[in-house]
Amino acid sequence: MTIPATVEDAATLIVTGNPNVGKSVIFQLLTGCYATVSNYPGTTVTVSRSSASVEGRTFRVCDTPGLNSLQVSSEDELVARNLLLDDHAIVLQVADAKNLLRALTLTLELAEAGCRMVLDLNMADEARERRMAIDLEGLRGLLGIPVAATIATQRWGLERLRRALPDACRPRASVRYPSVIKDAVSRMLRVLPEAWPARKAFALLWLAGDRNILEQLKPRLDPASVEALEAITAQAQEQVSSRLGRLIAHARLREAQRLVNRVVTAEESAHLPRLKPLGDLAMHPLWGLPILAGVLALMYVLVGDLAAQHGVDFLEERVFGHYLIPAAQWMVHGLVPWPWLQALFVGEYGLLTMALPYAFAIILPIVGMFFLCFGFLEDVGYLPRLSVMANRFCRLLGLNGKAVLPLVLGFGCDTMATMTSRILDSERERVIVTLLLALGIPCSAQLGVIMAMLAGRPLLALGIWLGVLFAVILVVGQAASRLLPGDASPFLYEIPPLRMPKASNILIKTAGRVEWYVKEAVPLFFLGTLALFLLHASGLLAVLERLGRPLIVSWLGLPAQATGAFLVGFLRRDFGAAGLFMLQRNGMLDGVQIVVSLVTITLFVPCIAQYFMMVKERGWKLANLMAGFVFGVAFLVGGLLFRVLSALKVAL
């Protein structure tokens, strides 16, 4: 065995546990390093690493996506599972105190994997609210590991948890399996190499028929061993009518239930949390819809009106138009003698006159407000309820309700949402979601600009924009679900309870996202502006405008100046939208042109960051295919819409 005997030798601490139990909060508190925290399963989809000093010792701490079992179904869970099985680390299992049964089922599995661990019963307040009493001392005795209780969001119990970490050890508790499983496992242990740490876990996963474990283990074993293991599994399966995986899962659950019965005492009169009725209404077949409409309306008022109208007006016209830009112009003219260099900073495509106001006066107030609203919804726990509301619609796209999460996150940022597609259960669904995000889901920045452009227009304009997008998503989703092999995977998603949001968490999260926006988007704004400036100065822009004429002017019916907006749209779609916004302000677009250009830019190619995320998640080939497809669809739909609207002589 190569596992270090004592804690001193191992310096990695893995934070694991069921989804949505507060692993990331604990990670934050231990390391002081920011991790996104929300109230829905699937917030963390990658492993974050940092370090923490505990009792004078330094640990490398990993925050991991949540797991219900070592037998996994989605990509994010697989990453977490592999980390647990491969690393000789200490495991801190964070549990939902009120849901001890599920936590202990996982504890028993981790015990089988030979993990040295500490169990933390988090959200102790919610258990208390439900009048549940948990005998910590008893649980410590039964499991043989340190057990702590915390309320992470209030930092309650954190010190005791820290002190318990160095005492991490292997749990004593083990599952009493039916003899057919027990015999098969002991025979498999004779085949599996002694040096492997989590041999028993591997054997059980193999018996349970876990697809990934078979793929992972086979290359590491000699063919004779693989054959032997397969024979043992087949023999065991022959002896029983039920699936082995089912027997294993049920034996584990029974053992966990036995433990729970010994340490949890719940009062007869179950006490329902205050927000429960509201949480139920939010996914009620009847009341869910008005609530959804209310949420959307409120967001429109805050983002589309308050931020995109008043906020942008104030910043763009007052702050930038009256003070900053004249000041910049005055300074540049005074300091820089060459007109061409002056134009670089304060000309039509100047870094200070175009990039800066675009990034900070137009987009920033909009995304800032959107992130704030979104953070609130995330913390309350509203988003998972949307997946219940939209399950049926998702079925039309070949998806299930779980896919609502990445799709809705796409309205925040399509790049992050593309990564969140990892929580989905099949590659087919991940591909469809990635495509729809690239095609028809406008991100907050773009959405804000679009809302601002549509705000002064008749409601019909908004209706047409929405209707066309909806139809395109529906048609493309339907087509993709028919073309891609396989069926929609079964829907299974946990709905967390509604919780009172914490203002500090929302503010920190919003600040973190704004900071990320400034770091990622602003340089691209400068880069795009610089490119436009160079194209303009060299006369290439005019050439491109001439080349693009058939597409932009003849096909889409837009003024030639819109070419620039579409060019920077290759960098970021919101940048492109901001360009259209300026054209509209300068009175260069009529009603039909506004709607056509907005539909086209909404569907337009994914931004650079999203494109690279697509490459990372789906591979070069698929990412390029999707980007090309999206580009084609955007112009096809835009051009057709222009023709239809002109033919019908719609006044917009």
């Binding site: 179904s73 939902d96 998972p384 399950n391 299974l492």
Partner: protein
Amino acid sequence: MRLPATMMTSTREQIEELLELCWTAAEDGLEPLDRARLPTQLRCFLPHPIEPDHAVQQDTIEAMVQHGLLLAEGPHIRLSEAGRLKAQEVVRRHRLTEVLLHVLLDVSDASLESTACQVEHILNAEVTEAVCLFLSHPPSCPHGRAIPRSRCCQASRATVEPLVVPVARLPLGETAQIVFIHTVRHAYLQRLSAFGLAPGRPIRLCQTHPALVVRVGETELALDDQAGQEIFVRRTPRLAS
């Protein structure tokens, strides 16, 4: 009511078969029966053949008349009141067994008959009642003949609601116990058990539209519609006081 101990077990089965025959004949309005022509009638009425030994049968009939189970009027025989009660139990056991085999186990018609007429002789009152409750007091056998009611059927309010149902058929807000999960989607099933959704655990139906939402312990889960048909739960029988 028990048969006199003097009757041997082998003849008890014959008695029960004859009681069943008379009951079935009465149902079809063919009473009284001609004791001389019973064997042919047995083959006609009973869905299963019995020993065509004429001598044995006449002995059995004689014994049944003596014990007041049958009334004899010359060549004709009919059930007495005591015989009717006894016959009702036998018929009930037979037909309940048929439903059990047919509906739940999907046994073929041929083995349905032969098994049912063996089982009907060995079920005791308690088991019969449990079967009746489990099948939620079915009104008729697979052949469409009425199953005689018993006290357990009359006591239960929920005569038309089956006791074991797919979870989607529970009334909203009701908690029931999971008895089994019948699915070919094994991976899905194993994931469900990781959420604590497994036989023996209480489950509560929260809503069915727009998606199925159930509650198991402190976990609220959204599932697809198919799962609502695959998870079978046992409702707590609500007996009228």
